[in-house]
């Protein structure tokens, strides 16, 4: 039913511009896999390579071990949901859904039956005779999914399909997409620049930057154990203390920053890169920063000036400025305590080395 997709050393160049640099990733069958990155990072190009609209300049794309080079989009077991959906405006909803069957020469009655089944699946029963223009944004979205599913693809590719929807609908569609994926059990490859979408829906996420796949991992690992500075700063919020590595010991490293000597975790993969006192960053999440006295682990401590407080109900966001002039963000859970510090006062800050990540920086 579902198919493994393997990208081997894939390069895509447009003239002098390189859109994808040496992409290597294996997407497992039946997985909800996302490519996450800012716009222009090459994720759509990669998707077009998988769907067959773009031939990679170099490298191979394998479906279940079979090289897809030279096989057109209409011959691949993929279906793509386009960013603007690309529904056929001149056809009815049912005709849109059944288009893939029509071009395969399947009879009208059977097409209609399949379209009705899919309309039930996407919770639009009996709307097959409507024109596409009469549907709302969310309904169009679902019709596009049904149209792609009608051809029973083994891989469904989704190119930022939710970006045109409003916030409420987007959140609703996330849940719905995930449910549809579980129901049909095929591989979903999802492209987005919205980390919320990627983290909530995906089994695994590939973070891309400037054509390079930086890290492939599940959502929790991406957030808690980023392997690259880009991932650390792109996924979620992070405070970035820059400095030089002073020592590396098993699992931990110490970094000399302008705020003092900080200790943080080091992953296996980055250990070699960090040895030799190169430039490094220590990343601390806003929620990992604590006010001294409220937390016990005080091995990493420094002082900062409170600039501003944003109260969000369940959370308090503090904007701090360190002695070295760096802006920091701290997030405190509102547990009923009154904040002892007002704007302008100096706040003693601590954080747990367990929750700090040391990553090598390019020189």
């Amino acid at each position: 039913m579902s198919v493994d997709v393997k990208l081997e050393d894939v390069w895509v160049r447009f003239g002098s511009f390189t859109a994808v640099k040496n992409a290597n990733v294996t997407i497992r069958g039946g997985e909800f896999f996302s490519f996450l990155g800012p716009s222009g990072c090459g994720k759509t190009t990669l998707l077009r390579c998988i769907s067959g609209f773009q031939e990679p300049t170099d490298g191979k794309i394998l479906f279940d071990g079979k090289n897809m080079a030279g096989i057109g989009p209409n011959k691949r077991p993929t279906a793509l949901i386009f960013q603007n959906l690309a529904l056929f405006p001149l056809m009815s909803v049912a005709d849109n859904i059944a288009f893939g069957l029509e071009v395969r020469g399947i009879g009208k009655a059977q097409r209609r039956k399949k379209a009705d089944e899919l309309l039930d699946l996407i919770a639009l029963p009996g709307q097959g005779d409507k024109k596409v223009g009469e549907l709302s944004g969310g309904q169009k979205q679902r019709v596009a999914i049904a149209r792609a599913l009608a051809v029973e693809p083994e891989i469904l590719l989704l190119d930022e399909p939710l970006s045109a929807l409003d916030l409420k609908l987007r959140q609703h569609m996330r849940t719905e997409l995930r449910e549809i994926q579980k129901r049909v059990g095929i591989t979903f490859i999802y492209i987005t620049h919205d980390q919320g979408e990627a983290l909530t829906m995906s089994d695994r996420v590939a973070v891309m930057s400037e054509g390079v796949i930086e890290q492939v991992a599940d959502s929790v690992t991406l957030y808690d154990r980023p392997e690259k500075p880009f991932v650390a700063s792109f996924v979620g919020e992070n405070n970035d203390f820059r400095g030089r590595v002073t020592s590396v010991s098993e699992g931990y490293a110490e970094v000399e920053t302008s705020e003092g000597l900080f200790r943080g975790r080091v992953s296996e993969g980055n250990r070699d890169a960090l040895s030799g006192s190169g430039p490094a960053s220590i990343f601390v999440r806003p929620e990992a920063l604590k006010i001294a006295g409220t937390a016990t682990e005080a091995s990493n401590a420094f002082e900062a000036n409170l600039l501003q407080e944003e109260f969000e109900g369940n959370m308090r966001h503090l904007v701090l400025e360190s002695k070295g002039g760096q802006r920091l963000r701290m997030t405190l859970v509102n547990d009923g305590h009154v904040l002892d510090y007002g704007p302008g006062s100096t706040v003693p800050v601590v954080f747990n080395p367990e929750l700090a990540i040391v990553l090598p920086q390019e020189a």
Binding site: F53, N74, A86, V103, V151
Partner: protein, 427 residues
């Protein structure tokens, strides 16, 4: 306040003038088609008559020309629309520099004078024909074939412009979507692009047909020994016209009007349906008279009824007796001025004779039995034989000359001495 009023008056006057300028000639020409006078004119008004339609239908040259024009028109449509479409699609695919070059190439026939296109087409195919030693009956010298080719050179450029305008609004992702869903390139073209282009294909076809139908400067060369409607009309204008051309104009104007009305009605109906669908109101009350009257079929019915009414009115009006009266009056006047003129009326009763009464063909026969056939015997089959001979041959123009009987309008039609005056003009 006053200046605003003044402005409105000026604007109103301008609009009236503008419409008079646009439609005045058409209306005048339409009226002349119903005047029994042999020269297309409104004043002096002789008799209400529908004879000119008869004359038109009987005019073999016009009919052959019309037939050729229609054949060429269809040929041009069949050739230009696909070429224009292909060119437009090409334009959307090639790179920018290639694009401007290609565009110039395709559009250049529009900029080249039609005369040049016509002559060059003729010469080119004549050279080819000579090369292959072809006879004059071969396709190289076939006027219809050459005209289709010659006109298509620039008509396909028009078509391309229509198609590019439409294609610019096409979302190429739609085609990708079709391919992605498993369609072949051909299927994506037929099922996605063609339906999208359908309105453009329709308008390009209509435009191509009209451009071909009305073309003169290219056709006059490429048509070789044949004729089209335009070339026939042009030669007629040179050698004297009669109101049968007005009759033709009336028919064309009426057809155009009917098509326009139906098109407009269909468009409104479509809009109404879309509106109804949007409001989610069921279109149940379709039985209302107003709705039917504005639906395409209702309008066709109305037009049909109007046509029937006109014919009925025409049958009620006795053109023959009117003409008789007029003729009597003239004869009276004629006899007063030239007493020696013999009465021609009996001569006209015998159809075969080349009585110089071309343009008043039906007048004379019915004149002998005025009461019997009120509608002037248009629908009487035996009349066809009587009319036919008068139209063909250059006996016809003899009639035209009569209009120049100095200052006297109908004057001296039957005066044999006038024939001499007329002769040089006809042919």
């Amino acid at each position: 306040m006053k200046s605003a009023q003044f402005l409105r008056v000026v604007l109103g006057a301008y609009i009236v003038l503008f419409f008079a300028y646009l439609f005045g000639p058409l209306i005048l020409m339409s009226i002349t088609a119903f005047n029994s006078s042999e020269f297309p004119r409104v004043t002096p008004w002789d008799c209400f008559s529908t004879d000119w339609f008869n004359v038109l239908v009987e005019d073999k040259r016009i009919m052959t020309g019309l037939r050729n024009s229609i054949i060429i028109g269809f040929g041009v449509v069949c050739l230009s629309v696909p070429i224009g479409l292909a060119a437009a699609m090409m334009l959307t695919q090639v790179g920018r520099r290639m694009k401007s070059f290609f565009y110039t190439v395709v559009v250049s026939p529009i900029l080249v004078p039609g005369v040049v296109l016509g002559i060059s087409t003729l010469i080119f195919w004549d050279r080819l024909g000579t090369m292959f030693d072809a006879s004059y009956n071969s396709v190289f010298y076939n006027g219809i074939f050459l005209s289709i080719l010659g006109q298509s050179t620039f008509v396909s450029a028009y078509c391309m412009l229509v198609f590019t305008a439409r294609l610019q609004r096409f979302d190429p992702v739609q085609e990708e979507a079709a391919l992605d869903l498993g369609a072949t390139n051909a299927q994506a073209f037929v099922k996605i692009l063609l339906p999208f282009l359908k309105p453009a294909i329709g308008s390009a076809a209509v435009m191509a047909f009209l451009a071909s139908f009305e073309n003169y400067n290219t056709t006059i060369f490429t048509i070789v020994s044949e004729s089209t409607l335009t070339t026939v009309l042009a030669s007629k204008v040179r050698f004297g016209i009669n109101p049968s051309i007005s009759a033709l104009a009336v028919i064309i104007v009426v057809l155009t009007l009917i098509c326009a009305i139906i098109h407009e009605a269909m468009k409104r109906q479509e809009a109404r349906r879309a509106q109804a669908a949007k409001d989610e109101r069921v279109v149940a009350d379709y039985a209302s008279v107003g709705r039917f009257a504005t639906s395409p079929w209702g309008i066709v019915l109305l037009v049909f009824l109007a046509g029937l009414g006109t014919i009925w009115l025409a049958t009620r009006y006795d053109t023959a007796s009117c003409k008789m009266r007029l003729q009597d009056e003239r004869q009276l006047r004629l006899e007063q001025s030239t007493p020696s003129t013999p009465a021609v009326t009996p001569g006209a009763a015998t159809p075969g004779t080349t009585t110089p009464s071309t343009t008043t063909p039906t007048t004379t026969p019915s004149g002998s039995e005025p009461a019997a056939k009120p509608y002037q015997g248009i629908f009487a089959p035996q009349n066809l034989d009587q009319v036919a001979p008068k139209d063909e041959g250059e006996a016809a123009p003899a009639g035209e000359g009569k209009s120049d009987g100095e200052s006297k309008p109908y004057q001296g039609i039957f005066a044999p001495q006038n024939l001499d005056n007329v002769a040089p003009k006809s042919d």
